[in-house]
Symmetry: C2
Subunit: 155 residues, 2 copies
């Protein structure tokens, strides 16, 4: 590892990596215990992005997820056959297919939302209200620093 700014930077990286290890583990465990077995994490991400992006395309989804294109194509195919998504060839560019959530898809997305919220709820339930606020503020701050957005932007 290149030591750019001396010891301070090393310490900072250590602290972030320590967080990552713990967080990756707990996300892994969450998935195992909470996340409903109907959809994989990747499938859930796709469902979420279709909700987020509204009428969208495989390419737009993959701008975010950067999956193998064939793989994404199959995921979409599966979600269509499960009646969560619809796909319609674009009128203006026939290479593109517009993807949307069906009514069932919206409902399933909401279920996933609830499962996810419940899992977070469980994790933070042992904290006091002020601790929970501190926690959320810390997450917001990280978001802002790393991704340049805060709690008031985006969706």
């Amino acid at each position: 590892m290149k030591q750019v700014n001396g010891m301070k930077e090393i310490e900072i990286i250590k602290r972030i990596r320590k967080f990552n290890r713990s967080y990756v583990r707990s996300i892994g465990l969450l998935e195992k215990t909470f996340l409903n077995t109907d959809y994989s994490l990747t499938e859930s991400q796709v469902i979420f992005l279709v909700k987020e992006q509204g009428k969208t395309t495989a390419t737009a989804i993959n701008k975010v997820l950067k999956l193998d294109e064939g793989y994404l194509s199959r995921i979409i195919k599966k979600l269509i056959s499960n009646s969560l998504l619809t796909k319609e060839q674009s009128k203006t560019d026939k290479r593109c297919y517009e993807i949307m959530l069906t009514t069932i898809g919206i409902r399933e997305q909401q279920k996933l939302d609830e499962l996810s919220s419940d899992s977070i709820q469980t994790i933070i339930s042992h904290l006091s209200e002020s601790e929970q606020l501190e926690l959320a503020s810390s997450f917001d701050k990280i978001m802002k620093l790393l991704y340049g957005r805060n709690e008031n932007e985006g969706q």
Copy 2:
């Protein structure tokens, strides 16, 4: 989702979930772009835990990772055949096998460490030193709130 303490709690969960989505994505991307293709994330976690725990066992590793036991057994087998780990039957309890890093394993672990540090370095490099400190403090605070430890404990 059960609305336990009213609106504030919902907001907090939303903010945490938003962080999670971004973070899961960026960890996914990190893995794709940075992480050396020799070992999967799970294998890396095993290697790290053997380093962390010193002489250990499959069961001890799995207390943390909670993988399928057969799967973990095979991962250990692979790492042994790649000369990263050794396994020796315990003298005191012959059901158990003591697992350790080899010299090669230690070296590989260090390489993984460096890759991981480099990837963090890249991510934080656009931040000023004070922003980096703020970032690390936020991570520390979350660690403390969620896992009850801070930057001065553990390893």
